[in-house]
Symmetry: C2
Subunit: 251 residues, 2 copies
């Protein structure tokens, strides 16, 4: 069952300032298999090999740079929250790397709001995709069809919901690659046996539509500055921030 280290498929995990550590760590822990061995090997890839802020108080250092990892087997973009996701959408160097690496990759993946980065890079237009619930409308404004599922596959593109969505997707990918037994070994080893004490998420449409607006309240100038050079992306975000129409009717 073990795969030789050199044979493992490289997954370039694209990292940037302020990303959601749980989405990064959950996904790479399941893909790499840790105590077990999977067919994948993740490598975090950033603009520079310098400490980056995250959504936790922890800083971390990318293992490689864009230049060092030009042709990965797969590209995976974890998400971030609030203004961080918007800023990442406006980072042209990040988008250029994602676009170039995705071109030759057999698999292009995201977790949470990472889907917005794929969409901003022009990779999800006309595709079915998912994202963290708070970013649903932005994703749709960028030309994708939002599907409310833990992960959504469309050709070689696979997008997952937030946090645990990345773990679920990673187990699915390991299962596809080396079989269900291997995926279950990974799951057992990382002891991913969730039992949320207050039950499953009872997602409310209204919460979802207002969440992004409330996290970005009072930061309009920063949103505009982050996307000033990309009026198309700015329009997609601003449209999502405008009040949702009543009765679930979409504009």
């Amino acid at each position: 069952m073990a795969t030789k280290r050199d044979d493992r498929k490289h997954v370039a995990v694209v990292v940037y300032p302020g990303l959601t550590m749980l989405e990064l760590i959950g996904t790479i822990s399941a893909l790499d298999g840790l105590g077990t061995k999977t067919g994948f090997r993740t490598v975090t890839v950033g603009e520079r090999r310098e400490p980056l802020e995250s959504d936790t108080p922890m800083r971390f250092i990318p293992q490689s740079t864009y230049d060092e990892t030009p042709h990965p087997f797969a590209v995976l973009v974890p998400g971030s929250g609030g203004l961080r996701a918007i800023t990442a959408m406006g980072d042209e160097k990040l988008l250029a790397y994602v676009r170039a690496a995705a071109e030759g990759a057999e698999l292009v993946a995201s977790v949470g709001s990472g889907a917005l980065i794929l969409a901003a890079a022009g990779l999800l237009a006309g595709r079915r995709a998912t994202t963290h619930w708070a970013y649903r409308r932005v994703l749709e404004n960028l030309g994708a069809t939002y599907v409310q599922r833990r992960w959504v596959e469309d050709d070689r593109f696979i997008t997952a919901g937030g946090a645990s969505g990345g773990i679920d997707m990673a187990l699915h990918l390991v299962g596809n690659d080396t079989g269900r037994r291997s995926a279950r070994q990974v799951q057992l080893w990382i002891e991913y046996d969730p039992q949320p004490p207050f039950g499953a998420i009872d997602r409310q449409r209204e919460d979802a539509d207002n969440a992004l607006a409330s996290t970005l309240a009072g930061r309009h100038a920063e949103v505009e500055r982050a996307l000033a050079h990309r009026p198309d992306l700015l329009a997609a975000v601003e449209k999502a921030l405008s009040p949702a129409p009543p009765n679930g009717i979409r504009l």
Copy 2:
């Protein structure tokens, strides 16, 4: 619902070389609440403020040192795998900090094999507790009563199973502290809505009894070296590594 930053209860998250990042990040993400605000504020505490290895290729830097965080509201110890957990059990400075901080703490918690560190510090003798399944027998050999549950409370001691067990436990603690509604907001914000693609873990007794032995195979000299100064702990580990008796009968 918001709690002022200064009013938040400090949780000293004890970090050490090689710990399991998913257990660290999952638990602190849920305790801190990130997009929401909870009544807790986590602070990673290590021996020195220097980069530490983890079970992933990522290194991280503790936010504070043992000396700087002597009297936290709560102490929380995440787990690690294989030899890392054994080495941490033999780290007398780590144990001394955990013991001293636990003495005045209102809450003493662990995730995964972090329970072995609490037990090695003498804090779980005679208590009901849980741990990552691979360490069940070691925990029992250290005098605790193992309970197979996502988390187990015994007085002010709360121990969780591996990985997602830390998130489940953290949501439970947030629910106890500021109410069910607050815990559900955290869960929604971190989008913890797990749907493992291959179902729940079907834990097998035999796997559990052999897993630790197989990860430590050929590393006996290192285990002995790590615990040479603590024959009591070494005996507890070695007893767990000996072949399990058939038919689930315990020695």
